[in-house]
């Protein structure tokens, strides 16, 4: 079974470490805006990381006109082949999490690829808000019940 990213919004402290290490890893610069993972801040000051969830049936993969988005057979990640990508932005429009975006500086679409099976964001998160786990049936996925007390409305 593939390991998957599991987000625990209630644990996030909003330090942006995930976005920083992601941008450093991808671009060699510190630019959280161009990372594949973003930290969203809520009106009450709470924060939570948002990233590609590598869906079971990826809408981005379906809509891509050039077939640049494919599932990696080894890691199970939905990855973007930048050489085949024409930058049409269809994937960004279809992503239910809004986690694919256009990096104007480097002229590429930015999407999480699980760092080749070893996601740096899960390694660096100091609060345990991002985990990389093998999923089991008995795990509690009632995110809404856990995040409920923390959130009101996204800014």
């Amino acid at each position: 079974m593939f390991r998957q990213i599991v987000i625990r919004p209630e644990a996030c402290i909003g330090c942006k470490s995930c976005a920083l290490v992601c941008s450093m890893n991808r671009t060699g610069t510190i630019s959280p805006e161009n990372a594949a993972v973003t930290v969203c801040f809520l009106k009450n000051g709470a924060a939570m990381p948002m990233m590609c969830m590598h869906c079971e049936e990826p809408a981005c993969m379906e809509v891509c006109p050039t077939g640049a988005i494919q599932r990696d057979a080894q890691t199970g990640a939905v990855v973007l082949n930048t050489e085949m990508c024409i930058g049409c932005g269809q994937c960004a429009l279809r992503c239910p999490f809004g986690r694919i975006h256009w990096d104007a500086r480097r002229a590429v679409m930015v999407k999480c690829d699980l760092c080749g099976g070893h996601p740096k964001c899960a390694d660096i998160c100091p609060a345990g808000a991002i985990d990389f786990l093998e999923l089991q049936k008995e795990m509690d996925f009632s995110v809404i019940s856990r995040i409920g007390p923390k959130t009101e409305e996204v800014e």
């Binding site: 470490s17 009450n44 100091p126 800014e155």
Partner: protein
């Protein structure tokens, strides 16, 4: 130049102009940090003949906005009641400013009507703020970020600063209070806030080496018992940490223990940690209190000021203290100075000197009276209008210098961790530690996480960022110079 944008934003509120100014390389050379740069900019403006009042300087450090541990601080320079003051503030405002392409902002002059400064990457403009004037900090932040940029870094003032409270503070990102008096200057300039959102990038000379250094600093802080304790939700201090603290010369750390050692409030149901940009400690907590009648969400204060209300006002009830801090945050007031003012009012009321104000039920140590007084100071109503003028003015008017001195002595050293005046002189080893701490702060690192940096690691990090760095043996000298600047300049901070 790596690490810097070489751009200053100059804003004049009087003639409503916003322009960019190059930050000369010569200023950035010699490893100038946030405090040193802010002081130099201030001096240069003075030499150019610009008036000192109605001017603020916000300056980032060479490592602000990067990914090492705690690299989020920015310096604030302003003309306090007693002269030039500097202080620093955390959150994500500094990082956003750096990512927006600016190293600092200098705002001068006085606007005719309330304005706020909206910076979105390269574009900066002054906008009308009359809609948020007379609103508290939370409401202001919500309105301004919605109008300017979601998720932006903010630095804004509350009602206290608008009404020229002597110890009004600006509030960075809803939580982090600037030194007292900074908000007063912003209020006088009619600058309600600065909102900044940056989507740029910071380049470093050697990315791989820098990443290794950043991860090393994070590893070190995760192994530091004090930092771990500061970030825990348990509100308890272990004996291990207390022993560890005895070895540290920095007064702020010892005061911080008090906050960690708060017993967990009985009514508290959820504790959520809050961290500044690139900080893994997360020393601030959001506490959700549930009692019979209502559910309230309260933010805990900065560690170094956690006990001020207890010391100055004799109130031990935790709920009342949290309420008082929440009011300080919402109105934008320095908690240390505010607690002194409240304590003095309570003492004077006990002595029967405040009968003419018609306030009843104010006695020293009364939690309800304390919360009511903080609220009155924020709104400047009744006796609050007198207290908002500061302890010194109140003591002079009512001839109570002795009581005022006693109360100020009780909270002494808790007026912001950047206040190097709170440091005590110590042995040679302690002096070295302090020099390192001062140098790290000058670079833009939070003092609480500065324990993650040894001289070697700091130099290695600077070398990875700039391609060159001072020798480790030079850190002592540089740090001592920074301390000298801070010691000379923080004397003006109103307490």
């Amino acid at each position: 130049m790596y690490g810097w944008n070489n751009v200053l934003l100059r804003v004049n509120l009087t003639d409503k102009t916003v322009r960019k100014q190059a930050l000369p390389h010569e200023l950035l050379r010699n490893y100038a940090g946030q405090f040193t740069l802010a002081a130099r900019c201030w001096t240069r403006l003075n030499e150019a003949g610009a008036p000192e009042e109605n001017r603020i300087v916000i300056m980032t450090g060479p490592m602000t906005g990067m990914m090492g541990e705690g690299t989020n601080r920015y310096a604030l320079a302003y003309q306090g009641r007693n002269g030039f003051c500097t202080g620093s503030c955390g959150g994500r405002f500094g990082a956003e400013l750096k990512l927006a392409g600016y190293d600092g902002v200098i705002v001068e002059g006085r606007a005719e009507a309330p304005v706020y400064l909206c910076i979105r990457d390269g574009a900066a403009q002054l906008r009308d703020a009359s809609a948020v004037w007379d609103q508290n900090v939370d409401d202001t932040v919500c309105t301004l970020t919605a109008a300017c940029a979601p998720g932006a870094g903010t630095l804004c003032i509350g009602q206290a600063a608008e009404q020229q409270c002597a110890f009004a503070a600006a509030v960075g990102d809803r939580l982090y209070l600037s030194p007292g008096g900074f908000g007063t200057v912003m209020g006088a300039m009619r600058l309600k806030g600065v909102v900044v959102r940056g989507s740029g990038a910071i380049s470093v000379a050697n990315p791989e080496e820098y990443l290794a250094c950043a991860l090393e600093s994070r590893r070190r802080v995760s192994e530091d018992p004090f930092a771990v304790c500061l970030g825990s939700n348990e509100f308890q201090v272990t004996a291990d940490v207390l022993r560890n603290l005895q070895k540290r010369p920095y007064a702020g750390y010892r005061h911080a223990v008090r906050q960690i050692d708060w017993r967990k409030p009985a009514a508290c149901t959820t504790v959520v940690r809050r961290a500044c940009y690139s900080c893994t400690v997360g020393c601030r907590k959001c506490v959700r209190m549930t009692d019979d009648t209502q559910v309230r969400t309260l933010e805990t204060p900065a560690p170094e000021v956690a006990e001020v209300f207890e010391r100055a006002c004799g109130v031990t009830t935790l709920e009342a203290q949290l309420d008082a801090f929440e009011l300080c945050r919402q109105y934008g007031m320095d908690p240390a100075a505010c607690s002194c003012a409240v304590g003095l009012v309570m003492r004077l009321a006990d002595a029967g000197l405040l009968a003419s104000y018609g306030e009843e039920g104010i006695t020293f140590g009364n939690p309800n009276a304390m919360v009511r007084l903080v609220s009155l100071i924020g709104q400047q109503r009744g006796v609050g209008a007198l207290a908002a003028r500061g302890v010194r003015v109140m003591a002079e008017q009512l001839n109570a210098a002795e009581t005022a001195t006693q109360i100020c002595a009780a909270v002494e050293g808790r007026c912001g961790i950047a206040s190097v005046a709170a440091l005590r002189k110590g042995s040679k080893e302690e002096e070295q530690q302090l020099a390192l701490l001062a140098f790290a702060q000058d670079c833009g690192i939070c003092p609480y996480t500065a324990v993650a940096y040894t001289e070697y690691l700091l130099c290695r990090t600077l070398r990875a960022v700039f391609g060159q760095a001072p020798e480790t043996r030079e850190i002592g000298r540089l740090g001592a110079a920074v301390r000298q600047i801070l010691e000379n300049q923080t004397k003006g901070v109103e307490s």
